[in-house]
């Protein structure tokens, strides 16, 4: 397992999305979020994007008012994680169109679905934005991959499953 958790936090330090790949209790999560948000948000733009915390590292990056914080094991490639955060933001941008904090708040489950396509059990699954968004497209009825006979239109899909 490389990635331990992914957090999205706004400038005020409020959590907007939290996905953990190792089980923590409610109290542990609250404490952890508080600690690392305090640590990371206090840093300025020039400082590096890596903070050591307990026995792992946090790689973070800021986009407008939103901070993306990723907790990773110590032997993980920090620069690659930065690149991954960027990929995540680009993917969300492609879906929401200029993604903002409210998009994530009001479409928390969609943000999770996207994340689910990118990371599983702490490992990266997919790096192509088109592939990541396919299930979401299917749900919204704008199917792109007509060449793939296995993909059903939503109507078919619902018919078939019900």
């Amino acid at each position: 397992m490389g990635i331990r958790f992914i957090l999205m936090v706004n400038k005020q330090g409020q959590t907007r999305l939290a996905q953990y790949y190792e089980w923590l209790t409610l109290e542990e999560r609250r404490a952890l979020e508080g600690e690392i948000v305090r640590k990371c948000l206090a840093r300025n733009e020039q400082q590096c994007s890596f903070v050591e915390h307990r026995n792992y590292k946090i790689v973070y990056r800021r986009y407008a008012s939103l901070f993306f914080l990723v907790g990773v094991d110590n032997d993980e490639n920090e620069l690659a994680i930065l690149e991954f955060i960027h990929l995540l933001v680009e993917t969300m941008d492609r879906h929401f169109g200029n993604v903002c904090e409210l998009d994530i708040m009001f479409h928390l489950e969609k943000a999770h679905f996207m994340l689910e396509e990118m990371v599983m059990n702490g490992c990266i699954v997919e790096t192509s934005k088109a592939n990541i968004l396919t299930p979401e497209m299917v749900m919204n009825g704008c199917i792109v991959e007509t060449s793939n006979a296995n993909i059903l239109t939503p109507v078919q899909l619902l018919e078939k499953t019900s």
């Binding site: 400082q47 050591e52 490639n77 920090e78 409210l102 708040m105 490992c123 790096t127 499953t161």
Partner: protein
């Protein structure tokens, strides 16, 4: 974006789930308001759940996820997840599985109920539903689920759609981590994934192979032999591939896959020359060709350097790698510098010389404004230091100590002190450096560090004068550093005469004129300084007492200062003040003997104590040396002063608290005294000989004129059972119950001072033997005995019996005890345990309980052995000791 314009954006699509709730939460001004909103929502959701409302079930679950993210309990929604998963529609299933992953964990029993649904969905005809099930399984599966569902996942590794294969691959990782036995089933399918073209399948396939290598050496061998060439070729193709828009990042095709491939090559190449050879070319190509002007390129270079450093040696590649790190280190981007430092840490194991070349740059990084970089650089400097460069590096670090910010000072100070101790070429240099650190950041210095400094000063007899003068000088300039004040106070007390008379002047020293009253001034300042803590003040009082006999001209003034503390609210200071005053007034004849200079502190004892006080006190055979009571070996003619000194050089034996050598030595056991007077307990028996002795001196006036030997006898009169003290005073006369043969007579001596009369048990009570640990393969029995007259110490004979039909080799028993216990393990009778109970191993140990009567024994054990060269480890806790041990 503000709320109104966001409303417009949302207006054109459907209203998201939980729109009203989220809006309400957002408008909350306080945490209390938020809680109220959440409570209301939760109540509504619970009501909907109990009505079994199907239409709103997935909306409610979406709301619950939001509430869960905010950090409120949502356990009541768990069953709803299961219901949604069991329903037939894709949207319901999807949100149900998401809820499952967010709200449940693998330890909950509810999870077992989902196994069946998962199994059905893994066999579903719709690939998206299979995808959902795989994803959920990959994130939360438990060991039982792994066993149940492994065949399905194995089959899906060959599914026609690559998007399913990639998820199945990651799911397999979870399964083999939960149940490593299943690994061999996955080796072949995993190898075939490596031949795919789809990036998602490749990246997950490579990850699966990497994890297989970690859990099974068999898999590692297999992949090393069969797949190294293939992986090298894949990497080559990737590096040379034409522009691929979907995977391109900054002109590089899929850097994530690059990195995964480099990671697995690292594992395959480590410790295998042939495999390493095979990948040399491609590593060289990646290291030279990748552009380093973008983050993605740097990420790959960084990984590549890591791989080059880990695989078998190839001189040319190593040079290339170190050069890349050098370039990184001089980069302006802090991220790049951080990873460079990180990697240099690993490189130093491989090629220390090459890293030393970058020493100057690294040292600059210690002074960086960025805390993360500073810390990394400091860690690196710490491992870079050796005997030849310790002086310049320490100089730099100490100079920086002045400029560094407060929170960094702690870490920096600890590192400097450790370096100075480890590498100091001569004592004077050590003392100098420690003095600088103390004056600059004394408040950050740990207790054992300044204790060590005092021990070193005490041992360097030619430097006593130099040290006390240097400390005096430093004390004049920085009185704010607590530990500096303490060391200075101690040295002035001990070597005050050398300070005044400039004894042992070194050539490098500037002459200094200090009068006797100047020295007393310094001590007075440190007592009266409002921020001095209790320890410092108490130490200053002792120092004053010592000076009173060395500086007869100041003795009246010293008496005044000591008397001022008579009304101190702090019990400890008040008591000292009164006792010391008594010595000054009534015991002129023995005073000079009482306050003689401390004998040289034993360095070996101190370092032994220090090592022994480490948190995990797994005792080894090193304990023997420091348990030797050297008091008994002292010449019989020892005067009372020597008796006092027992508290110093014999400190290790009496205080089994394992903590502070010097605290004992100075008689500053302040643990009880620092409590508010009303609640303070009587001082622990045996912790402070000095105080006890002195307080006896102040009791009935009949004894006030007594000579040294009278004090001794009065102690005997007051508190019986001090046979050992007798033995100390004159080794020839041993009283009937003398236990001079016992391993820790010092214990007895000190116990004698205890308030409760000691029970004498000639043979020690008998205890039944107990089965301390038993598993299906091994039994450990303890035979417990006590030595007469030594209730704190328990002798335990452990007997190990093998209950299995296999012979155990390399048998090793380890035990750990909490801090209030001290454990000494003797060597075992053998390290081979014959099969089926045909023989046993015995091993004796000795446990000393410093809280005897209050706490009972407890022990954590670990037993390691080999069966047919396979390591076996058993662990357990022994808590069934008889209560009164």
């Amino acid at each position: 974006m503000d709320f109104i314009s966001y409303g417009l954006k949302a207006f054109f699509s459907t209203r998201p789930y939980g729109w009203d709730m989220i809006r309400a939460i957002r408008s909350c001004k306080t945490a209390a308001e938020e809680r109220a909103v959440v409570r209301k929502e939760c109540a509504a959701i619970r009501a909907a759940i109990s009505e079994n409302d199907q239409d709103y079930r997935h909306r409610n679950l979406a709301k619950l996820m939001f509430i869960h993210m905010l950090g409120y309990p949502t356990h009541f929604g768990q069953m709803e997840c299961l219901k949604l998963i069991a329903s037939s529609g894709f949207p319901e299933k999807r949100i149900g599985y998401l809820g499952l992953m967010l709200l449940l964990d693998e330890r909950q029993e509810v999870l077992m109920l989902v196994t069946n649904s998962l199994k059905q969905d893994l066999n579903h005809s719709n690939q998206y539903i299979i995808g959902l099930a795989l994803c959920a399984l990959g994130n939360i599966c438990s060991a039982e689920m792994a066993r149940d569902l492994a065949p399905e996942v194995e089959r899906l590794l060959q599914f026609r759609d690559p998007n399913i294969r990639k998820k199945a691959a990651l799911c397999s990782i979870r399964i083999i981590k939960k149940v490593p036995d299943l690994a061999e089933n996955f080796i072949n399918p995993a190898a075939s994934l490596l031949r795919e073209k789809h990036h998602g399948v490749l990246i997950t396939g490579v990850q699966l192979c990497t994890d297989l290598c970690k859990v099974s050496s068999e898999a590692l061998e297999y992949f090393r032999e069969k797949c190294t060439e293939g992986l090298v070729k894949t990497l080559k193709d990737m590096a040379n591939s034409p522009y691929a828009p979907e995977y391109d990042i900054a002109g590089i095709t899929d850097p994530f896959l690059h990195i995964r491939l480099l990671k697995i090559l690292r594992i395959l190449g480590q410790g295998d020359a042939d495999a390493s050879d095979c990948m040399n070319d491609i590593l060289a190509q990646v290291a030279t060709k990748i552009e380093s002007n973008k983050n993605a390129g740097n990420a790959i270079l960084y990984e590549c350097v890591g791989t080059i450093m880990s695989i078998e040696d190839n001189g040319g590649l190593r040079v290339l790698a170190i050069n890349i790190l050098g370039r990184f280190l001089s980069n302006r981007d802090n991220n790049i510098r951080y990873v460079a430092l990180n990697m240099l840490m690993k490189a130093i194991m491989v090629d220390a010389q090459a890293v030393q070349r970058h020493r100057a740059t690294i040292l600059e990084c210690v002074k960086d404004s960025d805390a993360s970089i500073r810390k990394k650089a400091l860690d690196l400097v710490y491992v870079l230091v050796n005997e030849s460069n310790v002086k310049p590096l320490t100089k730099e670090l100490i100079e920086y100590l002045e400029a560094s910010d407060q929170e960094f000072k702690g870490v920096l100070t600890a590192k400097i002190c450790s370096l100075v101790e480890k590498f100091s070429p001569e004592k004077i240099w050590y003392i100098d450096q420690m003095l600088k650190v103390l004056s600059e950041a004394g408040n950050f210095v740990k207790d054992e560090v300044w204790h060590a400094l005092i021990v070193v000063i005490s041992n360097a007899s030619d430097l006593h004068g130099y040290s006390v003068r240097a400390l005096y000088r430093a004390f004049q300039t920085s009185t704010e550093q607590e530990t500096l004040v303490r060391v200075a106070v101690w040295c002035i007390g001990e070597y005050g005469d050398m300070l005044v008379n400039n004894v042992g002047m070194l050539d490098i020293e500037e002459p200094i004129t200090v009068t006797e009253s100047d020295a007393v001034d310094a001590l007075e300042v440190s007592i009266k300084r409002h921020n001095s803590d209790l320890t410092t003040k108490a130490m200053a009082l002792i120092a004053l007492l010592k000076l009173s006999s060395r500086f007869p001209s100041c003795s009246e003034r010293i008496k005044d200062i000591i008397l001022q503390n008579k009304r101190s609210f702090v019990l400890e200071l008040q008591q000292r003040s009164i006792e010391f005053n008594c010595i000054l007034q009534k015991h002129q004849n023995i005073r000079s003997a009482l306050v003689e200079r401390m004998p040289v502190l034993d360095e070996a004892t101190f370092s032994g104590r220090r090592a022994g006080s480490l948190p995990t006190s797994v005792s080894t055979s090193t304990g023997t040396a420091r348990n030797l009571p050297n008091g008994i070996a002292k010449p019989a003619a020892a005067p009372v002063a020597d008796l006092l000194d027992l508290s110093s050089d014999d400190a290790p034996a009496p205080s089994s608290s394992g903590g502070d050598f010097l605290q004992d030595l100075l008689g500053v056991d302040l643990s009880s005294a620092s409590a508010p007077p009303g609640t303070s307990q009587p001082p622990k028996a045996g912790t402070d000989v000095l105080l006890d002795l002195l307080s006896i001196g102040t009791s009935p006036p009949a004894q006030s004129s007594s000579s040294a030997s009278n004090i001794l006898s009065s102690i005997q009169d007051d508190k019986a059972s001090l046979a050992n003290l007798n033995g100390l005073a004159s080794l020839t006369s041993l009283s009937p119950n003398a236990t001079s043969a016992s391993p820790a007579p010092m214990m007895d001596l000190l116990d004698g001072f205890g308030p409760s009369p000691q029970k004498k048990e000639e043979n020690g009570p008998a205890y039944p033997s107990l089965v301390a640990y038993e598993s299906s393969t091994l039994r450990m029995t303890f035979n417990i005995s006590k030595q007469p007259g030594n209730p704190q110490t328990t002798l335990i004979q452990a007997i190990f019996t093998n209950l299995s039909p296999n012979v155990y080799n390399d048998f090793l028993f380890q035990a750990a005890v909490p801090k209030f216990l001290q454990l000494h393990l003797d060597p075992a009778s053998s390290n081979t345990l014959p099969a089926s109970g045909n023989g046993s191993i015995t091993q004796s140990m000795k446990v000393t309980n410093s809280q005897h009567g209050k706490k009972s024994l407890v022990m954590r054990i670990r037993i390691a052995y080999k069966i047919n060269n396979k390591d076996v480890l058993e662990e357990g806790q022994v808590s069934n000791f008889p209560r009164d041990l």
